[in-house]
Symmetry: C2
Subunit: 369 residues, 2 copies
């Protein structure tokens, strides 16, 4: 086997698919593909509204990935025969008090400085775009370039496309990275046995740290709780992000009347509890932003973990262990960064060269500090 | 068969158990026993805190049933070998604004007038009894006589006790009351076939109206949404009912760390949707009353229907169709009224006489109006 990939989430499968397209033989190991962070992803493709000062290299990576999305989605839908729910209606950001509005202005200024497409709107103009928004909002910002995709549909399509491209899936838990002669030589399985491989890719998301055999990685679980609602057909045309008195909430329509409301950001280790407080805050803020949410059906509540890093950027490329490649630490940008991560890691696997765009994101940056 | 009972909820099974104890042969028909209103019951035994002016006959019935509960629960636990979770810690009623406190005073006056045990408490004394209550409450009322029972455990125990007493359970949907010669003669099953019986008991809860063969009954579904939380061990010693700026919420501890928060009261027909607004309001009010609820796990949300009547009282005893006995329409008091209903209907089935206590609750009262 040329490549063994630990983790069959969005990142692991997309890397597997792209690597297989380049003629490599690939095995993916995951005991329950699709039940990790992708199950709780809202699917926002939002490099602009997620942008922060001082993260320009990450912004470039995100923008490059967003630019790849239309072709990536089209190719994936053709290869899998399945829809991925790409929506290009743009994103509205709205605010409720003076501080929220000041934050909108700061975001606008930053976006214009970066040459990005963003437009400040009066409350009236904001509500003309999304009439279900509350009249109590104080201002808005339209970001045409921020889109969304259905995270669960994307996972299903990637699984089908990877299989169609010849990727082998082993349904077992990864127990360790096999190491021989100072080099990764495959994956050990919890159920016994191993997958020997020329190169190992670590794509275990929030579970990437602490894998026996692998070097220590600065990845921690960042808990997020989200809600899935139904009955929202016609309620919103695109994603709405809001600052409700300093608290962030987003509402992302998907499928036929589906609406995802997210997400809490909690440093609580691997705690999977859906809490009364988390659900309350999400419902409260969503209803404040779009009062009609009251009438929607609450279909599902769940909690998962983003793979967080100290600088909110992913770990891509070679690790300190020869033969072990990293594709993890995507934090809040896992769905967005799937295409560029897959392209960059597949390039590394096929040619030995990590594309320049991904170079700032090797694990070495933490060793240097 | 002496008796065929339509409905294997708390009422149907308790009637079956008591009737079998009196030597009658009994069959209960239900396609999914335990999945109706009992699944969403908080299990409050609260004739006093539920008491309203002008419902004195209902209050007497409720108090009589509450008085039967300790012996009923003990006998049921002995017969089934299963716990029913009777809690006798009493109930606290708390209020938040001036109107809420005025409502507490009115409730107190009514309770004292009825000779019931109730004690008005300062905010400080209220919190001494339940330290997890918010310091923001404005007043309290302690009602020692209002208890609780675990509605789901009660159903499981009744099913076991009824079976042990020789009750036959048919797992099928009731399609109609069989009528011959102007008299109920059994139950027709949706899956085909019938259960012939000397007397038929209608105990279908919210589904009691509109059964083919039965006379029209003034029972309508009254939707209630509740939440089940976990991790609440030690949070509350007994039931807390609250008026939060005019809105009612209750928190009922059960089992090991379980907490039920209820309930919405909605006239929406047979709509089983768990709504964002319903869950939000319950969480909001519960957190307002006991801030520590924020940290609890949200385990389950569900919606069921109470069998409502025009005067909030049950329909007990003979109907306009000879051979058809009613045991339905218990609205918010189904769990509480289970023992007295079972005793009264079993007495009627065994002797032909409805006890005086139940006489005000025949369906005739609606015909008279």
């Amino acid at each position: 086997m040329d490549v063994a990939i630990a983790g069959g989430g969005l990142i692991g499968l997309a890397v597997a698919w792209r690597a297989a397209q380049r003629g490599l033989s690939v095995t993916v190991v995951d005991d329950a593909p699709g039940t990790g962070a992708s199950a709780a992803a809202a699917g926002m493709l939002a490099p602009v509204t997620e942008a922060s000062y001082g993260e320009e290299a990450l912004l470039r990576l995100c923008q490059s990935s967003l630019a790849r999305y239309p072709a990536f989605a089209a190719e994936l839908e053709a290869a899998s025969g399945l829809p991925v729910g790409l929506r290009t209606a743009g994103t509205l950001v709205v605010g409720f008090d003076a501080d929220d509005v000041a934050a909108l202005d700061a975001l606008l200024a930053y976006q214009l400085e970066l040459g990005l497409d963003a437009e400040r709107l009066t409350p009236r103009a904001t509500r003309q775009r999304e009439p279900s928004l509350t009249p109590r909002l104080r201002g808005g910002l339209a970001v045409a370039g921020d889109h969304s995709v259905d995270g669960r549909a994307l996972h299903v399509a990637l699984l089908a496309a990877a299989r169609a491209a010849g990727v082998h899936l082993v349904t077992d838990r990864v127990a360790a990275v096999q190491v021989a002669g100072g080099r990764a030589t495959g994956l050990e399985l919890a159920g016994g046995g191993a997958v020997p491989a020329g190169t190992v890719v670590l794509a275990l998301g929030a579970h990437s740290a602490g894998l026996p055999g692998a070097p220590p990685l600065p990845v921690r679980p960042v808990k997020g709780q989200i809600l899935r609602l139904a009955g929202a057909a016609g309620l919103l045309s695109g994603t709405v992000r809001a600052l409700v008195r300093g608290r962030h909430v987003y509402l992302v329509p998907h499928g036929e009347g589906g609406l995802i409301v997210g997400a809490t950001v909690e440093d609580r280790g691997f705690d999977a509890t859906v809490t009364a407080g988390g659900v309350h805050d999400l419902l409260h803020d969503a209803i404040e932003v779009v009062p009609g949410v009251t009438e929607l059906e609450l279909v599902e509540t769940l909690a998962r973990w983003r793979p967080g890093t100290a600088d909110n950027a992913p770990l891509l490329g070679p690790s300190s262990l020869p033969g072990l490649v990293l594709a993890t630490g995507h934090h809040r940008n896992g769905v967005l960064l799937t295409p560029v991560t897959a392209d960059a890691i597949a390039e590394l696997l096929a040619t030995g060269e990590l594309p320049e765009l991904a170079a700032p994101f090797t694990a070495e940056r933490f060793a240097r500090r």
